[in-house]
């Protein structure tokens, strides 16, 4: 019984509340669910079938009015046990291929003037994410106060991950702003060289 990360991602959500495949996809698309990656709905359905085959989840069909029927999945005691085991298991380091950093690695080949809009655009995207995460964190802190770190509910999980989201985006943005300042200096220098030479 091998379970891919997506399987655990699904169990992680079903451990909180029963959901349909469509619900799971919606949950994973939320900005504060950044760590799930963008899972395609077409991949979630077969993964749910597999989890059901393994008896880690059970399903019931819910008939709806004016909407298609939905298949709602509930985590089983075995499933809960499985995720509890997985949560405290060792995690290998995640090494990701980053398009943006490979571009930075080759930035010596580019013109600073041309690279700047690209960097500014990227910074803008990350700024947007940061704002969303910060809003979510502020909401949580207002609601739960200092107690949040001691809660034994799902809010504790949300708190840990949203904190990471905020600090990740802050770090990324400050690196981007540092790089943009360098590119501006390079562009200015090149421009002066052009006009004075």
């Amino acid at each position: 019984m091998y379970i891919p990360t997506l399987g655990y991602a699904i169990l992680s959500l079903l451990a909180r509340t029963p959901l349909s495949g469509y619900d799971i996809a919606r949950e994973m698309k939320r900005p504060t669910s950044f760590f799930f990656g963008h899972a395609q709905i077409s991949q979630i359905y077969p993964e749910l079938s597999r989890l059901e085959e393994y008896e880690l989840v059970t399903s019931i069909i819910i008939e709806q009015q004016g909407k298609p029927d939905k298949k709602v999945y509930t985590i089983s005691p075995t499933g809960l046990q499985e995720i509890q085991r997985w949560v405290v298991s060792p995690t290998p380091l995640l090494e990701v291929r980053s398009d943006f950093l490979i571009k930075a690695h080759s930035l010596w080949l580019a013109d600073a003037e041309e690279a700047l809009p690209h960097f500014r655009e990227h910074a803008r995207y990350h700024q947007e994410h940061l704002v969303a995460y910060e809003a979510n964190l502020a909401e949580m802190e207002e609601r739960w106060g200092a107690n949040i770190a001691l809660l034994h509910t799902q809010e504790f999980g949300d708190y840990l991950t949203v904190k990471r989201g905020v600090s990740y985006e802050q770090e990324y943005l400050s690196w981007l702003e540092w790089a943009i300042a360098i590119l501006e200096a390079r562009a200015k220098r090149q421009c002066e060289g052009d006009t004075s030479g």
Copy 2:
């Protein structure tokens, strides 16, 4: 002519110096090449063939003594043009499925005492990476001084990426240490609750 990210990663290295498939794999395994992901050598060979088919690289067989022959690839003018175009093209946001953060999301299901070794081990791994990146950065700064940000050589690319490596690992570590402190408080509280109740 579609080129996957691995193709650009390879061009990014060949833009600096001619290399064999084996050399490329070795370069990508270096700690400061973290942003390439761990590319398998078995995937690099067919990708190189494809780049050659597209005439973005050329190859020659080098006969060696006491070692197998090697096929050394050189970037072509078209290849250089292609990566220069790519470097300043827009980059979609990278959303990665993170095993560790999915575990954090479900950490409310776990015992703090059991989760602590897992978090400490993870922090240790990241600490090691940070040390390696910092050593590399220090070396660079010592060698090139303040000029480094204005260089129009490959060292500029290395500088940008290693700076990101350092700040990423610093951020990750400080989040991990914050989480560890919380887990310690939870463990202590649970322990007191057990003995006093």
